[in-house]
Amino acid sequence: MSATTLLLPALMIAAVWFLAALDGALAGRAAGRPVGPAAAAVEPVRATVRLLVGQRRSTLAADGLLRWAGIVSLIVAAVLAAAVVPLGERPLVDLSVGVVWFNAMEVVAWAAVWLVGWGPNGALSLVGGYRFVAQGLSYELPHMFAIITAALAAGSLRITDIVDAQAGLWFVVLMPAAFVAYLLSAAAMAFWGPFDAPVARDTAGGAGSELAGVDRLLFAGGRRLLLVAAAAMAVPLFLGGGHGPWLPAWAWVLLKTAAVLVVLVWLRHRLPTIRMDRWAEISWIVLVPLTIVQALVVALVVLARGGM
């Protein structure tokens, strides 16, 4: 038990390192300074060490307690969310309400980013915090409809049951719109890719603008941990979990998670940051009805198959 408990954070940190290396490589290529694979792999380690030895920044009349609570809860929530993702056949904790647990842990990001934005008593970081709340209100409903559609098709909120239900057909085939909505919300909940307005350059780094040293390291790390957890959850929900030929289940889970991460990193470098007002309308006018119709279609398929 304890070995598996330690394995999950270790795997997540490895995934974060992979994510950061890939992101750095793509950023270098886009900037016209291509870096080799070895240099790209070393760069996240170097950045980590630099932040570890860097000085922390303190601001006037900061609420240090709330800022600390925000940073810590982001990291803790990401690991707890990943605890229900099956790393092969079984997850660390096989909850009967795994889907709802994942959802509850992932909304901790709302509180975390707002707190990190509020804590330093800085205008720009506060703007970032509020932007994330607006973003949350936009992505959360399509996200909930998407994950509940997967649970609906399996007739269970338990993640392992959802994986078992995909032995024949992956849910991405049955519910492509829900998968796309999930992928977008995965990027949005980690304020990643086109949804990085809460930490965007136009506000000098937004919610993270007043963070330096180890604070910045933990906030940036927690954000990437959350992205890894969300990408890993796409695998049991839509991509068949450990199902696949030849390789063992754990290898398929790792491969599929890496593939989802690659797509998310690629999207980040292909798409510009989207403004909150635009994203809110797209989300509420397009994605919410789309995911509701998707859930309806899946419900009809389940009824036609004689489920329920």
Partner: protein, 186 residues
């Protein structure tokens, strides 16, 4: 062990609830309230109601973050820079809460609690769904639509701009006149 966890959680719930009125920053007050709710959610989890407990965690986090926005927006002294008090009508409140506490505590001791009949359902989530939706589907549907209608009506009544402001007196403007542009291009 279970008793110890229960005591810790209930102390946490009560003390963070008290802190809501002690701290002088709206942000801290909101998140103290959130800690209190999360402790209660953990107690619901202890009773074996996994779905309800996790849903309380989910709803309370979303609710408290949105609440933080409104509390900071509408309350005095959002950042704790000026002294303010969360107390109003302290004497009346003390009398009322003392009476309520005495009544409830007396109820615990005086009521003749019934013996348990039957056994817990194998899956409390299914039992809850059956109880809510099985015999009372019409009630729940009506309730849902009523709540939704209330929300829509509240938004309609509170918004300063209607469709005539957006699309002109004859509702025939080419493009809606919105203060903030959307992403769909209506």
């Amino acid at each position: 062990m279970v008793l110890a966890v229960f005591c810790v959680l209930s102390l946490l719930a009560i003390s963070s609830g008290v802190l809501v009125f002690v701290v002088d920053s709206m942000a801290r007050a909101t998140f103290c309230l959130l800690v209190s709710f999360l402790a209660v959610a953990a107690m619901v989890l202890m009773t074996g109601l996994a779905y309800l407990g996790v849903v309380i965690i989910l709803m309370m986090i979303i609710e408290m973050v949105i609440m933080a926005v409104f509390m900071v927006m509408f309350m005095m002294n959002p950042a704790g820079l000026m002294p303010m008090s969360m107390f109003h009508n302290t004497r009346g409140a003390a009398v009322i809460s003392g009476l309520v506490f005495t009544g409830l505590a007396a109820g615990i001791l005086v009521v003749d609690w019934p013996q348990r009949r039957g056994v817990p359902a194998p899956d409390p989530t299914v039992a809850l769904g059956e109880a809510l939706m099985g015999g009372h589907m019409l009630t729940m549907m009506t309730l849902g639509v009523t709540l939704f209608a209330t929300i829509v009506a509240t938004v309609v009544l509170s918004t300063g701009r209607g469709r005539y402001d957006r699309l002109g007196d004859d509702l025939d403007a080419e493009r809606a006149d919105d203060p903030a542009g959307g992403g769909v291009g209506r």
